[in-house]
């Protein structure tokens, strides 16, 4: 079907090798020990793909191309060096948007100059129908990735409220737009008029925007993973258009990677992917009932000195970090606290919930940044049984992921979500800015009012710094 310019076997082989190096790059991430070698393989793979492409094409415009690579590469490199680790979720969202836009541009270039891509039928002088479908879908997915990621970026970066924005009849609008896009792509196979191509592109930009605005801040781990997946499918669709194995292999890898991460995140919240995508979580009045009953309940408030004393007397402390730790940049102070406790002979471990933070693995990166050894950091299923033997659970900036209502209250919006059983520890120290403002899900947390809980009401970083001082 595709009559691409005859590809020399060496060129095809080079793209295949690039694809294999990308697989090895991901494989390296199975352990921190092999991960950097994996990343280097990814770099080599990319270099092979780029050099092979340049080598096999007319190099008259080489200076311009090198210039473009240097400009882009320079910008990317500087951003990567300077970005704060806490800003990683928005950086990843911004990068996704670039992949999406690049896919749209490549699709548009292929539409304007199909001869260059070898996708023109020699007899009719028109685009191959199969190429039109691939191109249409690639551009559509790319555009959705772009506008969706821009919204995700604005929400994560705080330029836009993290609250869901709900349009009336949004499901109808969204389904209608999606149907229109698919219909037009199908029609595109019979009629290759430019208006169809550009309408598909424009509608896809709109739907990407509409899909993400109703989704609230704490569902962003799913959104970011999903957009990650889309950026992969966009690359794969373009790979089909170009008949390029490196792009197809990579697209499939990235697409499945994002899909699996979305699945893991959804499972960690006990929500279906569809309910997350439908959006609106945290906006409904679902939490109001349990929240209203909770006004003015008695709780114990403690000071940094109390917390320091309690922890220095303990045998074991488990620290549970959440998004609040990232917001107040408390990870360095927290590691210092951990070090001082270890000097006192206390065993210190960290427990991470899969959806803590705003992207998969967010907490792990921040703790790594603060030099917390990764073998002290445990995933939910590996550490949850240990809370029963722990003397102190130190919760910092996490809330919903510790809420026992997820196990007991069937009417709770977070019912069924796996939680960290901090309530089982002998005492719980809960660092929180104030008693007002329940967690993201708008549900009150029983743990606040338990006899063995001490609330440490302050900014997370300040509180931890004071505890460090008191431990001294």
């Amino acid at each position: 079907m595709h009559e691409l310019a005859p590809v020399s076997p060496f060129v095809a082989l080079a793209y295949l090798i690039a694809g294999i190096l990308f697989i090895l790059a991901l494989r390296g991430l199975s352990s921190p020990a092999t991960s950097r070698r994996g990343n280097r393989m990814g770099m080599i793979g990319m270099a092979i793909a780029v050099v092979t492409t340049l080598y096999t094409h007319d190099i008259a415009s080489l200076p311009e191309i090198i210039g473009a690579i240097l400009i882009g590469g320079g910008i990317g490199f500087v951003i990567a060096r300077r970005i704060a680790m806490t800003a990683m979720p928005q950086l990843v969202a911004a990068f996704h948007s670039l992949v999406g836009l690049a896919a749209v541009l490549v699709g548009a270039a292929a539409f304007l100059n199909p001869g260059a891509f070898g996708i023109v039928d020699a007899l009719t002088g028109q685009l191959h129908p199969a190429s039109r479908v691939e191109m249409g879908l690639g551009v559509a997915i790319g555009a959705i990735t772009f506008s969706g990621s821009v919204i995700a970026f604005l929400k994560l970066n705080g330029n836009m409220s993290g609250k869901p924005i709900l349009l009336p009849a949004r499901h109808l609008i969204n389904l209608g737009t999606l149907a229109a896009i698919l219909g037009l792509v199908a029609y595109f196979t019979t009629d290759q008029s430019p208006w169809i191509f550009w309408t598909v592109t424009a509608l896809s930009f709109v739907i990407g925007f509409l899909l993400i605005i109703p989704i609230g801040g704490a569902d962003m781990p799913v959104v970011v993973s999903m957009l990650n997946s889309y950026s992969g499918w966009a690359a794969a669709a373009m790979g089909f258009t170009l008949g390029n194995s490196a792009m197809i292999i990579t697209g499939a890898l990235v697409g499945s990677s994002g899909a699996i991460l979305s699945y893991i995140m959804c499972r960690a919240m006990n929500r279906s992917f569809l309910s997350v995508i439908a959006g609106g979580f945290g906006a409904e009045s679902g939490g109001a009932a349990s929240g209203a009953a909770a006004v003015d309940r008695p709780y114990k408030r403690g000071s940094a000195e109390d917390a320091a004393f309690l922890m220095s007397q303990a045998d074991s402390v488990i620290i549970v970090p959440g998004y609040g730790m990232a917001v107040s940049q408390a990870q360095h102070a927290l590691r210092e606290m951990g070090d001082m406790l270890k000097k006192e002979g206390v065993s210190v471990k960290y427990a991470i919930h899969p959806v803590a933070g705003r992207m998969p693995g967010h907490m792990n990166v921040l703790l790594a940044e603060a030099n917390v050894p990764y073998d002290e950091v445990f995933e939910l299923e590996d550490i949850n049984s240990e809370f029963g033997q722990a003397d102190v659970a130190f919760v910092i900036g996490a809330n919903d992921v510790t809420n026992p209502a997820a196990k007991t209250d069937k009417s709770s919006p977070i019912y069924g979500m796996p939680i960290l059983d901090v309530a089982n520890a002998k005492s719980v120290l809960f660092v929180k800015r104030s008693m007002g403002g329940a967690g993201y899900a708008g549900v009150d947390n029983e743990v606040f009012y338990m006899d063995n809980t001490m609330m440490l009401l302050a900014d997370a970083k300040k509180m931890v710094e004071e505890i460090v001082k008191a431990l001294d």
Binding site: H2, L4, F22, I23, L29, S30, S31, P32, A33, N39, M46, V50, T53, A60, E64, I65, A68, I71, G72, G73, G74, I75, G76, F77, I79, I83, M88, V92, H96, L98, V106, A109, A110, N113, G115, F117, N228, S231, A234, A235, G239, N244, S245, A246, I248, I249, G251, A252, L253, V254, S257, I260, I264, I352, M359, P360, E369, N371, E376, V377
Partner: protein, 94 residues
């Protein structure tokens, strides 16, 4: 390449992706997203073809713009992944 061989590569790569990604440790999920981001910029291959081929000035400039965007991602993505991975350290054994 004909459509069926391309499709075979795609389907097999999806399976490879599925098994490889499940083997990634959850602690490295953020670097995973950063590196997948970098490698999905292999779309630069398409952008290079568009910029290198004569025939349409508009296509060429769209291609060059795509090269810039994809390069931001490639360099930025790999560099930030490298920076993150360098931070993961094991406990110092005494």
């Amino acid at each position: 390449m004909d459509f069926i061989s391309i499709l075979s590569i795609f389907v097999l790569a999806c399976f490879v992706g599925y098994y490889v990604v499940w083997s990634v440790t959850p602690a490295l999920h953020t670097p995973l997203m950063a590196v997948t981001n970098a490698i999905s910029s292999v779309i630069i291959v398409g952008a290079l073809v568009a910029s290198a081929e004569a025939g349409s000035a508009a296509a060429k400039y769209l291609g060059l713009l795509a090269v810039v965007l994809a390069s931001v991602n490639i360099f930025g993505g790999f560099a930030v992944t490298e920076r993150m991975l360098a931070m993961y350290k094991k406990k110092e054994r005494k």
